[in-house]
Symmetry: none
Subunit: 137 residues, 4 copies
DNA sequence: GTGGTCTAGACCACC
DNA sequence: GTGGTCTAGACCACG
């Protein structure tokens, strides 16, 4: 679990951590079902307080990205809840990004190419992982 | 200038205001060169503190979306600064959105269709402005 | 806001607080829209840490019982979200209560009478409050 | 003894187990006097630690739902202790449920119908047992 | 050894 | 003034 937190950034640490973990899952670096480091371990590794990691894990659990097994620590969920009101949030976020992109001279093709590139890098990790998660023998 | 602020949203008011103004420019509702209400006017209209509006205007000016003329007050800029480090931010934001979308079951076509839709609505408002993007002096 | 916490009880303080606030809303003692004490105020009054109150408020906000206005503190929501998966939880809880009641010799009439009594005391506070919330002059 | 434990639920395993056993008794699936699996058997069947099952059995014994005979192992009690302070707990639990139900829009008839349904399913399993509730010696 | 809870006290962003 | 974040360190329930 390689995570980099930026203490200068105004985004709260627990949110940065939450985002990085989502990225890692999306990119396939953290496979569904895979165990994550202990709250204390990760806290020590990152040099932050355990409660900060705890908050990130709790948020991810609430969002359905992580599950917490009663006996052993925290793991990536095996499947993720469908959109729900996520689409609305997505539209809002995209509208802002497209507005800024358009104003700053990024044309439609360029913008969509970027979207495609990012989707192929981050948006498919969990799906492909689910298929080929057996031993390749 | 029709702006709706959500007092119960966790996004700071000044940021909500900033975002809405960007959207209006992107959508073409606020044309380049168009004058905006004064800080006091807008604050009164929205029922918020003048400092809040001030902060939003200052941020937008710093980002190059607005210009402040000592005599003519605040107006939408006539041309907007090119990408610079905006692309980096865009990539970061998109990577998070694509990761979440992929995990929540939004496939590539759906995602790209949504991107296109939003771009065509918000990302083209200043198209005409881009043509005449000479020096605004 | 009269709340009693039991330090001996094994229910976490923040949950006890959460429950008590739900009861007060249900009973009509805390009217929709009414402001609640500050996190710090309530913490001082109860003799607990501010983070404990914070956690209770955050939970209640997430559940839709409270709203947090950006400028001023916390208030009771004006209307509450519909059931969603609450009914499932309700059924599970009731099944356990009915099983224990039956085994301990509480017959159906007695049980239902108790349910009715509690519903009339706690389950109607917000609805009646919404109607008659004007001045009675 | 068919029991399903949810490892990702926030309810402790021993409590889930205790609740399920109460439900089975209430529903009549486990008859008064019937023998239960040994701690080890049930632990193996459920894939949990024996201490967990032990804890659930001990709790149920203390509550009067189970009896432990040195020779015959653990069995469902033949009669159950009357209310005592159970009514107080019942009232507390019901008050919270009614408050939440009322606020979430479940009206009195719906609520009571649900109570009745659950009582008829779970609250009547030991009816016959109550008749012969003499001393179990 | 795991996560959950709580404390006392600090700093900061927002309004 | 508000709530939000973070820290360092403690204790506890669970398994």
């Amino acid at each position: 679990m390689i995570v980099q937190l930026n203490l200068q950034c105004d985004v709260p640490l627990y949110l940065q951590l939450r985002n990085q973990i989502v990225l890692q899952i999306g990119e396939g670096l953290a496979q569904p079902g895979e165990r994550l480091p202990t709250v204390r371990e990760l806290a020590a590794q990152l040099g932050v307080n355990a409660m900060t990691v705890n908050k990130a894990y709790a948020l991810l659990k609430q969002e359905g990205y992580l599950v917490q097994d009663r006996r052993a620590g925290t793991a990536v969920a095996k499947h993720f809840p469908p959109a729900a009101d996520f689409t609305a949030k997505l539209e809002r976020d995209l509208s802002l990004l497209t507005a800024e992109s358009g104003l700053r001279g990024i044309d439609e093709e360029t913008f969509l190419a970027l979207c495609r590139k990012q989707y192929r890098r981050f948006g498919t990790g969990a799906r492909t992982a689910k298929e080929g998660s057996g031993c390749s023998l």
